[in-house]
Symmetry: none
Subunit: 405 residues, 2 copies
């Protein structure tokens, strides 16, 4: 019944936790057991794989399950929560259910009934098909927005950094829409030598299909006028535009007409960078790896857990595109039958000769750069910087003293 499901167990009591964990594992579930609230926040906010349900004790050594739930709700849609508690009251149960918890069980409980209720609140599985963008909640949201965009015919604006897959989103909208049989014409304005010609060619080719304008912020004024006129005509085609980080600056500087932008910005699909949804990186890695491995002469056996962890922790300034490039490189040059971190990040090998800095050294440099960044943002305001960094003024002063700032 729970086969293949990932259940998070938040419980500080050893005996109770062990017994539940064991039973859930017996049922085939994948259990993540954390014993502290702070760890649970981390484990649920940025899970390695999506969590299907959370079994949560209320009294924890460093907080309460209620706090945990409220904290998660502030920034994300939490998985269904089943609270278990020994000394809870009715008021607490009512409060939690009103806040959106899925269920509430008092200890001690019959294991069979508990499992029933847990299974009952698991959302039906099998929506893997329409999740081509990742497994994070952010990625699922993109999938929903794409489906919505495909259903109507209004202009869409895709926003995201370099290599986040804006073109993929545009193609998918086209593919899911009722124009899927019509042409899909792409004008990439940032790569083109002559953006105007690129725009004209795409407009000429699009017919009643989907016109995809990539790199909108690079469209020169003449092109903006032309696009505006084309929108007024009115066109047979549907417009999907994409812009990157430079859009806001272009609007501020007047390099892009505000009125045109607002005509395009009716339905916005923001794609957060990979760094903000770390659980998508290993997911993408495996997806691409499987696809590429199948076409390989001598298939690799798999990916090292260390490599997966390294992929998770990397910053991915080039987002998905960088990941693909690294993987292609790694699979071409891999020496063994397994992908290791050094295959994906060959540039790190150069440091092999010298000594790794001490942990405290690394910590100090990290603190140093971080403090400087905060001070820069506040314009040298120490008190505000301390607030920003979440430490007291005196502590910040102490650290600055120590680090010589």
């Amino acid at each position: 019944m729970l086969k293949g499901r990932r259940i998070a167990l938040v419980e500080d009591d050893e005996i109770m936790g062990a017994s539940i964990e064991q039973r859930l594992r017996l049922e085939g579930a994948d259990v993540v057991w954390v014993k502290l609230m702070q760890r649970a926040v981390g484990a649920l906010r940025t899970p390695r794989a999506p969590i299907d349900a959370v079994v949560c004790d209320i009294r924890l050594p460093d907080g309460t399950g209620e706090d945990l739930f409220a904290t998660l709700c502030r920034t994300a849609t939490p998985p269904p929560f089943l609270f278990i508690t020994g000394q809870g009251g009715i008021d607490q149960a009512v409060r939690l259910l009103q806040a959106g918890a899925a269920d509430y069980v008092t200890k001690p409980f019959e294991m069979a009934g508990f499992l029933d209720r847990l299974a009952h609140l698991l959302r039906p599985k099998g929506e893997a098909v329409d999740q081509p963008f990742g497994q994070s909640s952010a990625a699922r949201r993109i999938g929903v927005l794409v489906a919505q965009a495909a259903e109507n015919d209004r202009p869409v604006l895709v926003r995201g950094g370099a290599g986040t897959g804006k073109a993929l989103v545009a193609r998918r909208i086209h593919h899911l829409s009722d124009r899927s049989a019509a042409p899909f014409a792409e004008a990439n304005l940032s790569r083109a030598d002559d953006p105007l010609a690129e725009l004209d060619a795409a407009i000429a080719a699009v017919g009643d299909g989907t016109l995809f304008l990539n790199g909108l912020e690079r469209l020169p004024p003449k092109g903006q006028d032309r696009l505006s006129v084309w929108l007024d005509s009115p066109p047979l085609a549907r417009l999907v535009a994409a812009c990157g980080a430079g859009m806001e600056a272009a609007l501020r500087d007047g390099r892009f007409r505000g009125d045109l932008f607002f005509r395009l910005d009716l339905f916005e699909i923001p794609i957060p960078p990979l760094a903000e949804r770390p659980e998508d990186a290993p997911w993408l890695l495996h997806r691409m790896f499987d696809a590429m491995n199948a076409r390989r002469e001598m298939p690799l056996r798999g990916i090292s857990a260390l490599a997966e962890q390294a992929v998770r922790d990397h910053d991915w300034p080039g987002n998905g595109r960088e990941l693909r490039a690294r993987l292609v490189q790694a699979m071409a040059t891999a020496t063994g039958d397994t992908l290791f971190p050094s295959d994906l990040f060959p540039e790190r090998q150069t440091t092999a000769a010298d000594r790794l800095p001490t942990l405290s050294e690394a910590r100090d440099t990290a603190e140093r750069t971080h403090i400087l960044r905060a001070l820069e943002r506040t314009g040298g305001h120490v008190i505000e910087a301390a607030k920003l960094l979440g430490v007291s003024r005196t502590t910040l002063w102490e650290k600055m003293q120590k680090l010589g700032i």
Copy 2:
């Protein structure tokens, strides 16, 4: 607070029932007291007037409140149920709330708190004639002013920020007035390309109805002259104008004729921004939610109490319009069956943009990457990695534990 509301009280205990009934009547509620389940089914299924809420005991001589609720749910959407019970358990509370009960209180209870919770779950039903704009005193004042305006025939000036529902007020004045059968002609001067043409078209269309001029501060001088002439004619129609925050500046700069303004400003209805009447935001939320949820293919179960709190705390720079937009977005993209704060405020998910990570967070990520690097180099050898990092084995273990490595 309960004035004019119809509350059904299902309670077999004479003393308890009498005390609640008396108190509810004191608060101005209309109370229907039934002492048997069978009677309650009848009274709730075919009430003389719609019931706004049900206060329901669980143990009744001829059945239970649970049965009553279940019976009603089979054939209709019952009003919000507040269960009160003396010997109920947590399981019962959980079961009822999961079934859709609004609240659950154990006897004995503080009457004040009980009334709060009862008032909290009262939802506006349909077009509540008396309170169409909110439940704050400011909103009730708007209702009174609208009614007064509808009774006479003088020009009305509605003042309020963007998205505060100025057009709604105007329509309501028209609807309540004796011109309700005549045309309602709206000229939106702020959105129109050619405000003059917009004004002329509306004047031509209005006949003996109500002319609504929205965005008065944007009316160009020529239009002001024309409006002035039209007022002198004298017109058959009644004028309702609306202006936003820019009006004072327009008057100061002379972009708007002072004399014309004072001819329009005879009866002013000011609409304060939502931020100044926080209790209206959740009210509006529930109103819109109910209306939209009814038209939904798969209705949501409800709104998390946390989301409600977030709505109350938000600033609402875009007022009601922003609320509606957020709700539409949230209901389209909600992943679960309950609305959570993150559904309504998806932009908070990307906190990385504005908020710098805490110093300890930065330190943790730095330590994490550094430890991983060391482990990678030693091939997973913990002792060597600890030596490399200059910490003891136990410390490294502790850190790995904390950072989830």
